[in-house]
Amino acid sequence: MLYSEQCTVYCTVYSVRHSIGQSTLIIEMREFGSMTDAEVAAWLESFDTVMTDCDGVLWVGGVAIPGSTEMVDLFRKRGKRMFYLTNNSAKHRRVLKEKLDKLGFNARLEECTNTAFLAGQYLLQENFNKDNLVYVLGQQGLVDELEDVGIKSLPIGPDPVPTDGSWSVDGVPFSLDELDKRVTAVICGFDVHLSWKKIMLAANYAARPNTLFVATNTDERFPLKGDGCKLQGPGTGTMVKPVAMTAGRQPVELGKPSRYMFDIIQKKYPDIQPHRTLMIGDNAATDIAFGKNCGMQTLLVGTGVTKLEEAKQWEGGKQEDQIYVPDIYIDKLGDVINRV
């Protein structure tokens, strides 16, 4: 009796909070440590599906975060369906599955979604003519996922500006006619071989009429691993911006926080209900905003990009920052286990 009353209270508070119109939406973030056992139990019963970001939630670099594998096992034992999401586009989904398996998460390929996979889905949805080609500013995973759905691209890899002086601000020995007429889509993903010439080519293709312009994601940066490491790794957003600015055009963005990833998964699993789905992430700007954009419940973990202090600042702050405030914050995913 007490349990169901608590459950009702939790659900009522939840639904009232989410039925307030956007202009007066007030988000309260609960810290997991402050939740009672009854609230934790009710929370666990309030979702059937779990979508989780990987880096910063399940692992950091190549090492599983303590408690994450046990937590995923617990979700499965409780009958939750698992999905593993990443904004990464450099590798094929099967590489994500291999890493999940290696670190003890036991995933199926269908449970894995990355933005390289989304690129193929998006082009199919736009009825991309398979006789045409894609200009890819990206890496092998993106090319492979496109290939999986029968879409071909121009070669990728290093393409630097020649240093013989033939390329300068006065002009380049390259003409519009040299652009491949078969290219009718440009996809910008993460590309460690980014160069001025590739930005120029991507922009000129994207500036042509009847050409799709897609960005796998626009993550700005990721901290590089290692004690006290101050190196900032430029994210895909840093590559998309120069192309968009030069082309004078904004791309369609596939990755979180856009809801496209959720829509693609829900298309395949139509019984997924957003309000009974938990989105777990470490990056408020991508993961939590994604969860909110799709009407899901959200859990922010402190083992990655966004720290508790930042989330607290947004909580009392501007209306436009409310989309970054999670329902619940927890230091690390594995902390749930002790409470269950």
Partner: protein, 168 residues
């Protein structure tokens, strides 16, 4: 594998100018240095792109934007439309009066805005980036910033003034 030891502790300023050799590693280093707020972060200019033989080429602005995005920090930009260029010239030539100075340019968001920012008279020529049609659209725009890009005068090309002036 890289650690922070690759960052040189003697670097106290990062300047981004036009660089056809831009690559991922340069972005990473520039962003990592300027992530330290005590280091100066300067962009020479923010022209997004420029046109050569019908091709649109990435300008300094797009490279500055890449570093700025990676670092989560905006640079001080020295070039037009920042007033800095006018101020430097005026310091060397103190007799310059803004209201008796004509700024001529082809790019409204750098040249014409520089003129407006410094209280200069402005002339847009149509032989480069922006056009009369675009200017007419900005004239009726709801966006105040766009309306500021409308020059006092427009000529298809600078040389068109010559015939009118010769006769005077």
């Amino acid at each position: 594998r890289m650690t922070s030891e690759v960052l040189n502790p003697n670097v106290s300023a990062v300047i981004i100018g036009f660089d056809g050799g831009i690559n991922y590693w340069k972005l990473m280093f520039a962003a990592s240095y300027v992530h330290d707020q005590s280091i100066h972060f300067i962009g020479t200019n923010c022209d997004e792109c420029f046109i050569r033989s019908g091709l649109v080429l990435p300008g300094t602005g797009s490279m500055v934007a890449a570093v700025s995005t990676a670092a989560g920090r905006k640079p001080i930009v020295l070039g037009k439309p920042s007033k800095f260029m006018f101020e430097i010239v005026q310091k060397r030539h103190p007799g310059i009066q803004p209201e008796r100075t004509l700024m001529i340019g082809d790019r409204a968001n750098t040249d014409i805005l520089l003129g407006k920012n410094c209280g200069l008279q402005t002339l847009l020529v149509g032989s480069g980036v922006h056009s009369l049609a675009e200017t007419r659209a900005w004239e009726v725009s709801e966006d105040g910033e766009e309306r500021r890009m409308v020059a006092d005068f427009y000529a298809d090309k600078l040389g068109d003034l010559l015939d009118r002036v010769k006769a005077l």
